[in-house]
């Protein structure tokens, strides 16, 4: 069973991963790094992070909100 604090933490992580997949703070930026826009690098990195977070979730907390009787 996942501790209560961690249940909320995972909810927050999922929301953060969705919201900041678009780097809103780079709105209007056209700066290039190695030929690609900085906002695209952010997105690529963010998706790698999302994969890592999902993998951790599947190891530690899989079944959260779903398994067991509410």
């Amino acid at each position: 069973m996942v501790p209560t604090a961690e249940r909320y933490l995972w909810g927050a992580v999922f929301v953060l991963l969705i919201v900041f997949a678009v780097p809103w703070f780079l709105w209007g930026s056209s700066r290039l790094v190695a030929g690609l826009p900085v906002w695209l690098w952010w997105h690529i990195g963010w998706m790698a992070l999302a994969s890592l977070a999902f993998w951790l979730f599947s190891r530690r907390a899989w079944g959260l909100w779903i398994e067991g009787t509410p």
């Binding site: 999922f14 678009v22 826009p37 997105h43 998706m47 999302a50 079944g63 779903i66 067991g68 009787t69």
Partner: protein, 486 residues
């Protein structure tokens, strides 16, 4: 020369797919569960790639890069939010829960799962009917795409109707034979093929032009182009597209049905974690090529496909032909899955409960195959007439499916959802969205926010509100969703 190579590659692909279909037919039992769901036996690679290839339509190779060429590469972000994170989260929240319920009760379709829980065959038929309504024109669009692509490829030697007819005939034979198992095997092959081709194309073109910096140099004259956001990509537009399509995808029959087919929990865990990476790996190169084409001086007419022009400029004929074959394959890998799922929705949720409840396994399996023929032929005939109203429905199908998502999710997670509540949520949001699409005096967007999103909110409010004020109807079985064996 080029024509022969292109046709050869496409015919070669069709033959290969057919062989895989025959191999799958030989090991498939004559039961509905095996035909529609391959008896829930998929491992990580097959499940990941069959879902992936089913999601990808010709959009990845044609419309997507075209949009990047004209409006800038921000569409990558839409795909990332939509398919990479949001869909992955739905994969867990909707998919894993559906998988558990489906395994315990033997469900094959979404309608079946809802109808049983709420003790209502009519709700079951309603969900199937709504799904078929949005699915049919969408299949028609794919056939039109294939017909147009083959006509263009052969410079009109093969007329549109013959191209669309050929693809339809092939799909009928193939889907009737292969079932879910064969489709998933070819999907796996195709998904890997498309991913490989996009990367090869990227590397090839980058080597020719001298790397990403050189490719982007031609774009810096207009700093707006690579800048994040503009009049086209507003925040409301990005959010509306990503949210409505992600939720819509989860309710598309051919994707939703894949929630039932994993072999084990481990398979679901692995696919879940791989989603974001896979999405980035495909869409960043595919759409950046579209954007770079603009800076590299590729001149595309409005409506022309950019990627083939770029490939023709920088790569040999055979390679460009392989990529185009990949695009046609992408169209077909979506359509075959849609045909199979459409047929299962009809036989399981409409024919069986209302016309022949005593149908044997064997008969249902046969009927499923007949359903594929009827469905595909109907969509083909429609693709010849191309009625404007059907085109409109096809173009707005994602939004239509998205309306189903929230009522379903509430039912999956909130014990107090009632039959009246979910029915009101589904009917209300569908009516609102249909009215937005068809009634000229209702807008498609409210201050930039699409009506698909507004309809979803309406469905949410209706499902919760009406459930709140009604009590469960006789025959409802709440335990089906909430007493799951771990």
């Amino acid at each position: 020369m080029s024509l022969g190579i292109q046709l050869g590659i496409i015919v070669g692909y069709l033959v290969l797919a057919l062989l895989i279909g025959v191999a799958a037919y030989r090991i498939t039992d004559r039961t509905a569960e095996d035909y529609y769901l391959a008896s829930r036996t998929f491992g990580t690679v097959v499940l990941l790639f069959t879902t992936f290839a089913t999601l990808l339509s010709a959009f990845t190779f044609f419309a997507g890069p075209n949009t990047a060429y004209w409006e800038g590469p921000e569409w990558i972000l839409v795909m990332g939010v939509m398919d990479g994170v949001l869909f992955a989260v739905l994969w867990y929240l909707v998919g894993y829960k559906q998988w558990l319920i489906g395994r315990e009760h033997g469900y094959l379709t979404l309608g079946e799962m809802l109808g049983d829980r709420f003790g209502s065959p009519r709700l079951r038929a309603l969900v199937a009917g709504i799904s078929l309504f949005w699915l049919f024109p969408y299949i028609m669009l794919q056939q039109m795409g294939a017909g147009t692509a083959l006509a263009a490829l052969t410079d009109g030697a093969m007329p549109y109707w013959a191209g669309a007819g050929l693809i339809t005939l092939f799909m009928i034979i193939y889907v009737v034979l292969a079932g879910m198992r064969g489709i998933a095997w070819t999907d796996t092959l195709q998904g890997a093929f498309m991913l490989g081709m996009v990367w090869l194309a990227l590397i090839w073109i980058m080597l020719s032009v001298g790397g990403p910096s050189a490719a982007s140099a031609g774009l810096t004259a207009d700093p707006e182009f690579l800048a994040l956001g503009d009049d086209y990509y507003t925040p409301a537009f990005i959010i509306t597209q990503a949210v409505s399509i992600a939720f819509g995808v989860a309710m598309f029959p051919q994707v939703n049905q894949r929630f039932f087919v994993a072999r084990s929990k481990t398979v679901l865990k692995r696919t879940f974690a791989l989603w974001p990476i896979l999405v980035v790996a495909l869409f960043v190169p595919a759409f950046m090529l579209g954007a770079w084409a603009r800076g590299l001086g590729i001149e595309a007419e409005p409506g022309a496909n950019v990627l083939p022009l770029l490939l023709a400029e920088y790569t040999p004929v055979w390679f460009a032909a392989l990529v185009i074959a990949g695009a046609v394959a992408a169209m077909m890998s979506s359509s075959d899955s849609m045909l199979l799922s459409g047929s299962s929705y009809f036989t399981r949720d409409i024919y069986r409960p209302f016309f022949n409840p005593a149908a044997s396994e064997r008969r249902e399996d046969l009927l499923g195959r007949v359903g594929v023929v009827v469905f595909a032929t109907g969509a083909f005939l429609a693709s010849l007439l191309q009625p404007a109203s059907l085109l409109e429905v096809g173009a707005t199908a994602f939004g239509g499916f998205a309306q189903l998502a929230l009522p379903v999710m509430i039912a999956l997670y909130w014990t107090r959802t009632t039959r009246a509540g979910i029915t009101a949520g589904i009917v209300g949001s569908q009516l609102f969205y249909l009215a937005s699409v068809f009634l000229p005096f209702l807008p498609m967007a409210y201050a930039g926010w699409g009506s698909a999103l507004v309809g979803m909110a309406l469905g949410l409010v209706l499902t919760i509100g009406i459930s709140w004020v009604t009590s469960p109807a006789a025959g409802e079985q709440r335990a089906i969703y909430f007493d799951l064996a771990d």
